[in-house]
């Protein structure tokens, strides 16, 4: 079984992207169905890997080219990646269905070529999560980034080009810092495989090279995830891109970078290095994360454009996860990993709901939400659910991850982080109730709801928010706990 599904998850969108690349010059109509088919296959095979890992409690390893590591590249799927892989393909699949009309309207005859970039973006993300080799991660990161820059620049307005170029410069700095960090680690260990480096590093923990390598890896990943104060590319990039593009980049890209950070911290350098040798640094990082949460919340309150509000909510949420991971105790790490899962779903649901509003009303300021609840009942229902989830009200999923994070903060006696988490919930209450208040004004004159192809994905994802919330207990006990036991002992 293991010989098929790991490779299938990544290879299917890749090969289908090239097939679409050829077919789109000949016949443009079937490209959508080819893309849909490949994402369905990727989703099913990633689910099968997750079932295999949870039922047999073992790690899946796949040698590429038949060469054993560290000679060749290997795929290594443990509980952490196994959990994230299905979500990525799920979000990509639903977004393709929900954004078909957007893509037809925005790109006209270049729509079939756009699917190539879309499939390659998904392949890059799946590859980043699934790989066990440091340099392979860099190459896949560059595929993801390059397709993201191009997709954002497809917005067509002058501001989207500028936002994309700004994102490009900062993204190149981030990726190059990561590459430098990997180089410094290579020059002292001689290997690029994550497990191998983990084995060799404890002998050279006192080396300054390894320290600077770690710093540069971390700073590179922080730039790419948009941690305050390195987040300046984020609001413009996600606001001025086409709606169908920001719906897939915003939920996925930054959370996959958080996965990379957790992976590098705990599976390559190890907790003895990050929390032991570098004692004291984690308090500084948690402070930075708390500032990110507060600054994100305050800036979200001051915006008038809905898309910018959503971007600053994302900046806040990244602060939750970075702080949780660097707290250093099991509860914090469980909260951070559960929040990766929840935040992908919540952000996607948020962008889906507001995407429906932008499609029917074509305007993006807050005052244009007037009469929303009367005119678009289904979309408003989804919006209410996701608002409750971001605020953190049970039984939606947002409550459980916040609960673990606050527990972890109190356990580590980091009261500033706990206070900033609660403050952020209050700020989210104000934000969302402002939306609901404007939406309840003025009566409905006529019913103009978004088309069915956009409502069904919204319905599915909002249902998932509640389902994941109710199953949080079993997810934490069966999957996340296993990884945290290995990582934190």
């Amino acid at each position: 079984m293991e010989t098929l599904y790991p490779a299938l998850t990544v290879i299917t969108p890749l090969i289908f992207a090239f097939v679409v690349g050829i077919v789109s010059w000949i016949n443009k109509k079937i490209c959508f169905w080819l893309a849909l088919l490949s994402l369905i296959v990727a989703f099913i095979s990633s689910l099968k890997i997750l079932f295999y890992i949870t039922t047999t409690s073992s790690i899946v390893q796949y040698k590429l080219g038949g060469w054993p590591p560290p000679i060749g590249i290997e795929y290594r799927i443990d509980w952490l990646n196994g959990l994230i892989l299905p979500i990525i393909s799920f979000v990509a699949l639903l977004n393709l269905i929900a954004s078909k009309r957007f893509m037809e309207k925005e790109f006209k005859e270049k729509e079939s070529f756009f699917y190539i970039l879309y499939l390659l973006f998904t392949t890059g993300l799946l590859g980043v999560v699934i790989t066990g080799d440091l340099f392979n991660l860099y190459v896949l990161l560059e595929i993801t980034s390059l397709t993201a820059y191009s997709m954002i620049a497809m917005g067509g307005t002058g501001r989207s080009y500028l936002a994309s170029l700004n994102y490009l410069f900062l993204g190149v700095i981030g990726a190059s810092f990561y590459l430098l960090g990997v180089g410094y680690v290579y020059i002292k260990t001689g290997s690029l495989n994550m497990v191998d480096v983990f084995r060799i590093l404890p002998h050279i923990y006192n080396s300054e090279t390894v320290l600077v390598g770690f710093i540069f890896c971390m700073v590179g990943v922080w730039i790419k995830m948009g941690l305050f104060p390195l987040h300046t590319w984020l609001p413009n990039a996600y606001t001025f891109s086409p709606i169908s593009v920001s719906r897939i980049i915003a939920p996925l890209m930054t959370k996959v970078m958080i996965y990379v950070m957790i992976r590098v911290m705990f599976s390559v350098f190890g907790r003895w290095y990050v929390l032991g040798r570098l004692y004291g640094v984690n308090e500084f990082v948690v402070l930075l994360a708390s500032c990110a949460i507060i600054v994100g919340g305050i800036l979200a309150l001051s915006q008038r454009d809905i898309r910018k509000v959503l971007c600053y909510i994302i900046v806040s949420e990244i602060g939750y996860m970075v702080g949780g991971a660097w707290l250093g105790n099991p509860n914090g790490l469980i909260g951070a990993i559960l929040h990766i899962l929840n935040d992908m779903l919540m952000t996607f649901c948020l962008f889906l709901a507001f995407g429906n509003v932008f499609y029917t009303r074509k305007k993006t300021k807050i005052e244009d939400l007037k009469g929303l609840f009367g005119e678009m009942p289904y979309t408003s229902a989804g919006l209410v659910l996701v608002g409750l989830s971001i605020i953190g009200i049970p039984p939606t999923c947002g409550f459980f991850s916040k609960w673990y994070l606050i527990l972890g903060a109190l356990q580590a006696k980091d009261h500033f982080f706990a206070v900033s988490l609660i403050l952020s919930s209050l700020i989210n209450v104000i934000l969302f109730f402002r939306f609901f208040e404007v939406g309840l004004f003025s009566k409905a004159s006529y019913k103009k709801e978004a088309p069915v192809s956009m409502i069904v994905p919204l319905f599915i994802v909002s249902l998932m928010l509640i389902v994941v919330g109710i199953c949080s207990g079993s997810i934490v006990n069966k999957i996340i706990n296993e990884f945290v036991l290995v990582a934190l002992g």
Binding site: F135, V139, E142, L146, Y149, S150, A153, T157, G158, R159, Y161, L162, S164, L165, L168, F169, V172, I173, S176, L179, L180, G183, Y186, I187, L192
Partner: protein
Amino acid sequence: MEKILDEVATKYNYWIYIFIMMIGFYGMIGKNNLIKKLAAMNIFQTAIILFYVSMGYKKNATIPIIKTTHDVITKINPQEYMNPLPHVLMLTAIVVSVSTFGVALAIAIKIYQHYNTLEEDEILSNIKEKD
């Protein structure tokens, strides 16, 4: 004193490449013109490539192509050949840097078509006026 000279003599190549890297890095974040930033980005990435390749050098070693005579394999001493792995990694990095440069140039052409200028502060003041 001797120790410092010793350090310089054995590691001057790394210092030179780090210096070039920092020139590129300063250009990327400090300059105003978009094309100057792009050129600095290229310098930055090229310096990283040179840094990696210089890692693989061994004294008195030749290029990593094994000398075989009519498919007869003699005993190979790895210390006679340079380290092939950084070369391979940097082939990938060169291609990635060229691709990023190409896409960045395409976006810069579009910006010029929209705003008729390539200076970042002029573009930003242009945007502020329109708001």
